[in-house]
């Protein structure tokens, strides 16, 4: 019984050092993946001569999609409580916007036409730890601004809201521990650089290295 109590007492300092305290700062970064989404379909229609039909004459058809892409993530946060971390986040990616061009009225060969979109997300995220210990699960959510710039084009801005969860684990112990962090989330974007100009929900996954002090 005494041995058991001592063991618990000996463990406490180590665990306590691994857990952040109120006011702790955490910096981190990593890489990830953002999923693709449909970007709209459109027809290049001409006004039909009424004597030749009643439906528009379609010169060609476009079916578009934003492709998945790698992301670069940077975050800096502060612990409001030992379990609640509030972070400013930045994410960068360069997904391709691809249009499949088909059904040409005069027989042009169907092709895929691409352009690249630089995508920047600036936001704030709250992360709540569900437990303490080795592998620590958490839930997260936040919002921000999405800025997308097609190559050579104008900046498009949109609201971004995300929610998800993940897991983290301390790699080192002490006053300034390193930890690894993995997260999966769903990102709602009020508008994207796609052609449909509508909201989309895309999956995001990321993994990174965090440093607390």
């Amino acid at each position: 019984m005494i041995r058991a109590v001592l063991g618990w007492l000996l463990l406490v300092p180590a665990v306590a050092c691994a857990q952040p305290h109120r006011g702790s700062i955490e910096l981190g970064g990593g890489i990830g993946w953002v999923g693709g989404s449909a970007a709209g379909s459109a027809a290049a229609n001409e006004t039909r001569n009424p004597s030749t039909g009643s439906t528009p004459l379609t010169l060609f058809q476009t079916d578009s999609r934003t492709l998945s892409a790698a992301t670069l993530d940077v975050r800096a946060g502060v612990y409001i409580t030992p379990r609640l971390l509030v972070s400013a986040t930045f994410q960068y990616s360069r997904p391709a916007l691809r249009a499949h061009l088909s059904s040409d009225f005069e027989g042009a060969t169907s092709i895929d036409a691409d352009t690249t979109v630089s995508s920047y997300t600036f936001g704030a995220t709250g992360e709540y730890r569900l437990s303490a210990g080795g592998w620590v699960p958490f839930v997260s959510g936040g919002a921000g601004q999405l800025r997308q710039v097609p190559d050579g084009g104008d900046v498009l801005t949109a609201a971004e809201i995300h929610a998800g969860g993940g897991i983290r684990r301390a790699l080192t112990h002490g006053r300034r521990p390193f930890s690894i962090r993995g997260e999966a989330s769903a990102s709602f974007r009020s508008r994207t650089a796609g052609f449909d100009q509508r909201h989309h929900v895309v999956p995001i996954a990321s993994a990174g290295l965090m440093w607390s002090f």
């Binding site: 709209g40 379909s41 459109a42 027809a43 290049a44 229609n45 001409e46 006004t47 039909r48 001569n49 009424p50 004597s51 030749t52 039909g53 528009p56 004459l57 010169l59 060609f60 476009t62 578009s64 916007l97 249009a99 061009l101 040409d104 009225f105 005069e106 027989g107 042009a108 060969t109 092709i111 895929d112 036409a113 691409d114 352009t115 097609p150 190559d151 050579g152 084009g153 104008d154 650089a193 052609f195 449909d196 100009q197």
Partner: protein
């Protein structure tokens, strides 16, 4: 100088229409050689355009009915924002469009020799500045006409044809945004079009009284204020075949977000083109031969237009920024 709208087939224009290549061009504007040897686009120096109507009735259309249709067509063009067009009906006249001197006259005229020309617009120009001093429009009495609200079977709609001719009157040339088929007995029939300035009219009985974005872009280019030019952008590049330029290719820029199509042409031996007056956005580009009408309806007859290539898309999308030019585009086409 005369610009024609054809019924079923395009006839060669009586004089050449010079295609102007400027950074903001998105269609053809009518150009003229001026005294210094250069080519300038023609335009009115001031408004309103004061016009007379020939006091002549034809079967189905009285002179006052023609005047009302002309007034509606003028107002359709005048509704284009940021342009500032205006017109004023002065009165009826005994003069025909071809005989009038010093006055703008619109009316019916007998031209049995032009059996496929519905109407035509002629100009008197300042040979130094290119300013339009006078413009007259005739509608060919060889054809039956109508001013019925929904059109009349077998008769050409006056307002539709006048709307096209008024595009010329304001300085626009023909657009190639249309598809045609060759009829067994000769001539062409329009299947569809995306510009009132396409040179071939819809079949008799149809009405076609609305402008398209290509028409608005053209007029805005000629008369638009600086804010219009600042708010739009352009795409420039080349159409090439086996590394050499293609002259006379029709280039279409399509915005899948807005479904707007704006046309342009490659106007030099190296295949250079500019499609302008584009709203900011991302565009699909497509090039095709100028084979949906007589090339003389679009470009000077001295231009050696290349028809020997297949329609093709550009293999990348092109983003256009507000007030900017996306340059260096190369649309590669293959011989037929």
């Amino acid at each position: 100088m005369r610009a024609l709208r054809a019924a079923g087939v395009i006839l060669l224009c009586s004089v050449s229409l010079f295609a102007l290549s400027r950074s903001v061009e998105a269609y053809l504007k009518i150009g003229t050689k001026v005294s210094n040897g250069g080519v300038v686009s023609i335009r009115w120096g001031g408004f309103p355009v004061r016009y007379f109507i020939t006091n002549r009735d034809v079967a189905g259309v009285t002179a006052p009915q023609l005047q009302q249709a002309v007034d509606r067509a003028f107002h359709t063009w005048q509704a284009v924002p940021n342009v500032g067009l205006s017109s004023q009906f002065v009165g009826f006249t005994g003069l025909s469009p071809s005989s009038a001197v010093g006055a703008n006259v619109i009316g019916f005229e007998d031209h049995p020799e032009l059996d496929r020309v519905l109407g035509a617009t002629s100009f008197t120009l300042d040979t130094v500045s290119g300013e339009i001093l006078e413009s007259d429009i005739f509608l060919n009495t060889t054809f039956p006409w109508s001013v019925a609200t929904s059109g009349e079977a077998g008769r050409q709609d006056v307002e539709s044809i006048v709307l096209h001719e008024l595009g010329h009157l304001h300085g626009l040339g023909h657009s190639a945004l249309g598809e045609t088929e060759i009829l067994p007995g000769g001539g062409r029939r329009v299947l569809g079009e995306s510009s009132i300035m396409f040179p071939i009219a819809f079949t008799a009985g149809s009405v076609n009284r609305a402008l398209h974005e290509d028409d608005v872009a053209g007029l805005s280019d000629i008369y638009g204020n600086p804010s219009f030019l600042a708010a739009t952008g352009s795409i420039s590049g080349r159409v090439t075949k086996n590394g050499s330029g293609v002259l006379g290719a029709h280039v279409v820029a399509f915005n899948p977000t807005t479904s707007v199509m704006i046309g342009g042409f490659s106007l030099t031996d190296d295949g250079s083109f500019v499609v302008g007056a584009l709203d900011p956005g991302t565009y699909v580009l497509r090039a095709e031969p100028l084979d949906d009408g007589d090339p003389g309806a679009f470009l000077s007859t001295s231009v050696d237009v290349d028809f020997n290539f297949k329609p093709a898309f550009l293999s990348r999308l092109v983003a256009v920024a507000r007030g900017g030019t996306a340059s260096g585009v190369e649309i590669k086409v293959l011989p037929k």
